[in-house]
Symmetry: C2
Subunit: 235 residues, 2 copies
C-alpha cells in the first residue's frame, strides 16, 4: 500500500448510482412524464459523460420497467395504467406484511427521530399542501420503512415495486378538477399512516407495522382506483 487510492470525483460505480437515482427521481416526480422521450446525447452532455455510462443507467431503468428504448426513436418513459399497476399493488400489499415477520429490526433512538421528522414534515404539508414535496416525503418515509427489515432481498424488491407505482398518484390526480382537495386529503391520509407506524414503533410492536402498512397501501390503491374512475369514467 503506497498511498490513498486518490479517489477522484465519483468512484465510477457511485457516479452511475447517482445518475440512476437522479433519473429515477425525475421520472417519479413526473419531471419526465409518461411518454416523454429522453435522448442519450442530451443526458450525456448534462452529466458530463459519454453515452456509454448513460446507456448503462438507462438499461437498468428499462429492466426495472420505468423506461423503454426503441431503436431509431428514443428512450421513452413508460406509461402506467391502473390495470397493470393493480398487479403490482396486490403484490405490495402482500409484501408489506412481511416487514413485521422477516428479520424485523427495531429502530434505535436516531431512527425513531427520523420517523418523527417525517411526521413533522406531514404537518408542514398539511399547512401548505404541495404535490412534489408530498411525493418526496413519501419516498423518504419509504426509505425509512426499508430500514425495518434486515432481509436485503425483501428491501430490494419492495423498493423496485414502490418505484413502479409511486408515479401514478401524481399522474391521475393532476387531471382532476378537485386536485387541490384530493391533495389535501391524500396528505391527511399519509399523515395518519406515518402516525400509526410511529405509534407502533414507539410501542415496540414491529409486527403491527406490517399490518398497518398493508392496510394503508390497500386503501391508497382503492382511492386511486376511484379517482381513475372519475378521471376516465367510460374506460
Amino acid at each position: 500500500m503506497t498511498s490513498a487510492p486518490q479517489r477522484r470525483r465519483g468512484d465510477g460505480r457511485q457516479r452511475l448510482l447517482r445518475i440512476y437515482e437522479t433519473l429515477r427521481l425525475r421520472i417519479c416526480l413526473l419531471d419526465y412524464p409518461p411518454g416523454h422521450r429522453l435522448r442519450e446525447a442530451d443526458l450525456a452532455a448534462e452529466f458530463a459523460a459519454s453515452r456509454t455510462p448513460i446507456r448503462r443507467v438507462l438499461a437498468r431503468l428499462e429492466d426495472e420497467g420505468l423506461l423503454r428504448s426503441v431503436h431509431g426513436v428514443g428512450t421513452i418513459v413508460t406509461d402506467i395504467d391502473i390495470a397493470a399497476l393493480a398487479e403490482v399493488y396486490e403484490l405490495r400489499v402482500a409484501l408489506a406484511e412481511l416487514y413485521g415477520r422477516l428479520a424485523p429490526v427495531a429502530p434505535d433512538g436516531a431512527g425513531l427521530d427520523r420517523f418523527r421528522a417525517v411526521l413533522s414534515g406531514c404537518d408542514a404539508l398539511v399547512e401548505r399542501p404541495d404535490a412534489r414535496a408530498f411525493a418526496r416525503l413519501n419516498m423518504e418515509f419509504f426509505a425509512l420503512i426499508a430500514t425495518l427489515t434486515a432481509n436485503a432481498p425483501l428491501r430490494q424488491i419492495s423498493e423496485r415495486l414502490y418505484y413502479q407505482t409511486t408515479r401514478i398518484w401524481l399522474k391521475t390526480a393532476a387531471r382532476l378538477a378537485a386536485y387541490e382537495r384530493l391533495l389535501a386529503e391524500e396528505i391527511a391520509h399519509f399523515r395518519r399512516e406515518v402516525a400509526d407506524v410511529l405509534a407502533a414503533l414507539e410501542a415496540g410492536d414491529l409486527a403491527n407495522v406490517g399490518a398497518i402498512r398493508r392496510a394503508h397501501i390497500a386503501m391508497s390503491f382503492a382511492r386511486l382506483r376511484a379517482q381513475a374512475e372519475r378521471a376516465a369514467p367510460g374506460e
Copy 2:
C-alpha cells in the same frame, strides 16, 4: 405498410435474451462455477457479436446478483453462501403461498399434461440419477409453476429469486462424500413435490398449490442447511 418487416436471425432484442438465458443456465448448472472469471472478448467471439451487446447482458446479470464486474479484473460469477441465501429462501417461502391467492390461473388440459411430463421425467431420474438433468427438470417445473398466476410482477420476482438460489444445491452437494445418496434422496423429494402439486391441480385446488410449494421450499432449505453443516462443520 410496404412489406413484411423481413425478420432476420434474431430481432436484436431477442438475440440479447437468448444470450442472457444461455449464460444464466450455465451459471445455474455450474458450468461457470462461483468465482469463475468470464471474459467479454471470449463471449463476444462465441456469440459472434461485439463486446457491446455482451456487456448489456452481463450488466443485467450483475443487476440480478449472478455476476460481479470488477474493473481491471474481470466479470466474476458471484459466490453464494447459506447465510445470504437464507434471506432469499425466507422470501421465496412467503411468495410461494401467494401463487394460490394472487390471480390464480387453472391450467388447461395441455398445461396439466406438461406437469405430468415433468412427473415422468422424475421417474426417469429415479431410475438413473443425474444431477444436471435434475437441475434442468427443476427449472422446467418452476417455469410451469409460473404459469399458475396471472400476476406478472409476482412471476418476475419469483423467477429472479429462484435463479438466485437454484445453484446452491449443486454446489454444496458436490463436495460431500454421500453425494450419490443425497442426489437420489433429493430427486425423491422433488418427485413428491411434483406429485403433490399435480394432485392439487387435478383436484382444481389451486390455493393448495401455494401451501404445498411453501412447505417443500422450506423443507428443501432445511435439508440444504443440514448438508452445509456437514460440508463445513466448524464454520
